[in-house]
Every structure is written in structure tokens, then in C-alpha cells.
């Protein structure tokens, strides 16, 4: 199963890249110009996203580097202990929604110190793989169209993250413990 998926994901991009222009050429599209027009649209999008991304990353970086995050996590530690969660897992859960690279670094460190096939190593990997960075996606997607009022987007995004983490913990406990 995973071999098929791996092959599929390796082939998807090359096939796509070749097939799209050839098909367009057969349909009489001015291929090179249309391609460059599309790329130019991408450039405008990037310019539109940057301010939003900058604002969010500055706040997250200040929150994280100042030690405020560690302080907040320390408050949550007793709750963690009550549910039998390993201590290193909570920072990963919080980081996962905030910063993609931060979560990956934390996850890598957990796996390195505890081993990839330890319970906590498997749990960290499952959590890392089961959601994406909600703050990043929110910032980039809404920033690209200039939406300022997000309504309940952040709430449902974080709720989905929380549910995914809970499911990961439940499944890992069920299978690996």
C-alpha cells in the first residue's frame, strides 16, 4: 500500500508538468505566454501574503523566544500528568499549530532522544503527521485574498487540531502500549 502511494506521489508531479503543456498545445493554447501569465499571478499573490505572514511570524517568534510559551506550558503540566501524557508531548501539540519548522524540530528532538520506535517517539510522529500548521495556513490563505475578519475559522481549526491530537494519543495508546 505505502509503496503504491510512494510511487504515485513520485510520478504525480513529473506527469503533471509534461501533460499540462502538451494537452494545452493540442488545444491551440499560446502555451509559453499563458504559462508566464500564470506565474506572474503567483508573484502578485506572494506580495499580497508577505505582510500577513510577517506579522504572524514576528508575534510567534517573540512569544516563543521570550520564554512565554514555556511559562504557559508549565501551567498546563499538571493537567498533562493527570491524563498520563508524556511531558515532552504538550509543547509539540502547542507548537504544531503555531510553527511548522518549530514543531518539526521539536518532534525530531523527541525521536532522537527516545528512539523512533519508543511510545513517545511514535506518538510524536503521529501527531506531527496528522495535522498542518493552522496559523500558517490561516495567515497565507486569508492573506492572499485580503480577508481580515476570520469569523470562527481559528476556533474550528484549533478544535480540529485538538481532536486530531486526542485521536493520535488514543490510537497510539491502544496499539503501541
Amino acid at each position: 500500500m505505502s509503496a503504491v502511494v510512494l510511487a504515485l506521489s513520485q510520478w504525480a508531479i513529473p506527469v503533471f508538468l509534461i501533460f499540462a503543456p502538451i494537452y494545452a498545445l493540442f488545444k491551440g493554447v499560446d502555451v509559453y505566454n499563458v504559462f508566464c501569465d500564470g506565474a506572474a499571478r503567483g508573484l502578485r499573490l506572494l506580495v499580497q501574503i508577505l505582510p500577513f505572514l510577517l506579522g504572524m511570524l514576528v508575534a510567534i517568534e517573540v512569544f516563543n523566544a521570550s520564554g512565554a510559551m514555556q511559562l504557559a506550558l508549565a501551567q498546563l503540566q499538571p493537567i498533562c500528568n493527570r491524563f498520563g501524557l508524556p511531558a515532552d508531548i504538550l509543547p509539540l501539540a502547542v507548537l504544531r499549530s503555531l510553527s511548522g519548522s518549530g514543531a518539526l524540530a521539536w518532534c525530531a528532538q523527541i525521536i532522537e532522544t527516545n528512539g523512533p520506535d519508543s511510545f513517545i517517539g511514535r506518538l510524536a510522529a503521529t501527531m506531527q503527521g496528522s495535522t498542518d500548521t493552522t496559523f500558517y495556513v490561516l495567515t497565507v490563505y486569508f492573506g492572499s485574498v485580503g480577508v481580515l475578519h476570520h469569523r470562527h475559522a481559528l476556533v474550528v481549526g484549533l478544535l480540529a487540531d485538538l481532536a486530531a491530537f486526542a485521536a493520535a494519543f488514543f490510537l497510539c495508546t491502544l496499539i503501541f502500549k
Partner: protein, 190 residues
């Protein structure tokens, strides 16, 4: 909501640094964050432009519309407020497929393309529409058949079976998405 969280993050960071007597940390972190955002945009730029170029070709040749027609019955139920022939579906379909294959970098341009189409239908352009939030959920819950980064991480750490967590990831994401969609369905009526 985002206003409050943004200010709260900054304020908490400021307070924590001041309390530790190391206020210089705030300056450093703020500059580092600012630089990081530009790095991120630059690293995203090439791939994004490439894919939007390819996407423009698919759009002009009618391939995109065909693909969307083929696959959108699956996703249509998630976007009941969109007209069945909405051009947003092609972007949504491609975004979903790229995510499924674990091609996160390729998924973003398609998602942003769909976002632009959704914005055209949005009665209040400065406020997120219901479909936008659904699309967002599809992306943050990241249902993927192949979480490539994590598997690479596990195999480089010498795991006996790096892909054994695959099914767990899929199930956890699916549950997360389900909970998110239910919450969205409840909150959208307000």
C-alpha cells in the same frame, strides 16, 4: 479573534522577557521573525509561480474544468453553498489531491487559486465566507496518504518500520477534520 491572539502573543512575550530582565530578546526575536517570513516567501516563490503557470495552462486548455467535473461530486457535499459549476471546484479538487499525495508545496498554489475564486463569490470581501473556512479546514487537517517529512524523520532515526504510523496519521487527521467540520456546521449559522 485574530487581533486578540496576535496582541496576546506579543504582549505575553514582552512581559515574559521584561520579567526575566532580558528585554533585548524581544528585539532579537521580532527581527528574526520578520526575516523568517521573507525567507519563507522566497522559498515558496519559485514553486508557487511554477504551479500557477501550469495551472494557467490547464485552465486555458479546459483540462482543469474536466478534472473538476470528474472529481468534484466527492467534494461537493462539503461545499453545499457553491454553485455546482463554480470554477472554484477545480482548485479545491487539485488542492485536495495534492494534499492527499503529501505534496504540500504543490497543494498551496491550488488552494490559493480556489481561494481567489471563492472571494469572487463572497458577498462580504473583508470577511471569511463559509466555503473559505471549509477549504481552510481541509488544509489544516492535512489528510494525507503519505506524511513524507515524518516518515523521512523516522527512517533517518533508524526506525524498524518507518511507515507503521501511516494509518494512525490518516485516522487522526480524519477525526480532526470531522470534528472541525461539525464545529463549522454549528458555528456558521450564527
Amino acid at each position: 479573534m485574530v487581533n486578540i491572539i496576535w496582541l496576546l502573543l506579543l504582549l505575553a512575550g514582552f512581559a515574559a522577557a521584561a520579567w526575566q530582565g532580558n528585554i533585548g530578546m524581544v528585539t532579537q526575536a521580532a527581527f528574526a521573525g520578520a526575516a523568517k517570513s521573507v525567507d519563507l516567501i522566497v522559498s515558496l516563490a519559485g514553486v508557487l509561480m511554477l504551479w500557477l503557470g501550469v495551472l494557467a495552462l490547464m485552465e486555458a486548455s479546459g483540462l482543469l474544468q474536466k478534472l473538476a467535473g470528474l472529481l468534484s461530486p466527492l467534494l461537493r457535499h462539503l461545499f453545499p453553498e457553491l454553485p455546482a459549476d463554480s470554477p472554484a471546484f477545480s482548485g479545491i479538487v487539485l488542492n485536495f489531491c495534492a494534499n492527499l499525495l503529501g505534496l504540500g508545496n504543490a497543494a498551496t498554489p491550488f488552494g490559493l487559486q480556489a481561494m481567489q475564486e471563492l472571494q469572487q463569490l463572497n458577498p462580504k470581501p473583508d470577511t471569511a465566507s463559509d466555503s473559505m473556512i471549509t477549504l481552510l479546514l481541509l488544509n489544516t487537517s492535512a489528510i494525507t496518504l503519505l506524511p513524507t517529512t515524518v516518515i523521512a524523520l523516522r527512517s533517518s532515526a533508524g526506525s524498524a518500520n518507518p511507515t507503521e504510523i501511516l494509518l494512525l496519521c490518516i485516522l487522526s487527521s480524519a477525526f480532526g477534520l470531522l470534528v472541525g467540520l461539525v464545529a463549522h456546521a454549528v458555528l456558521r449559522r450564527r
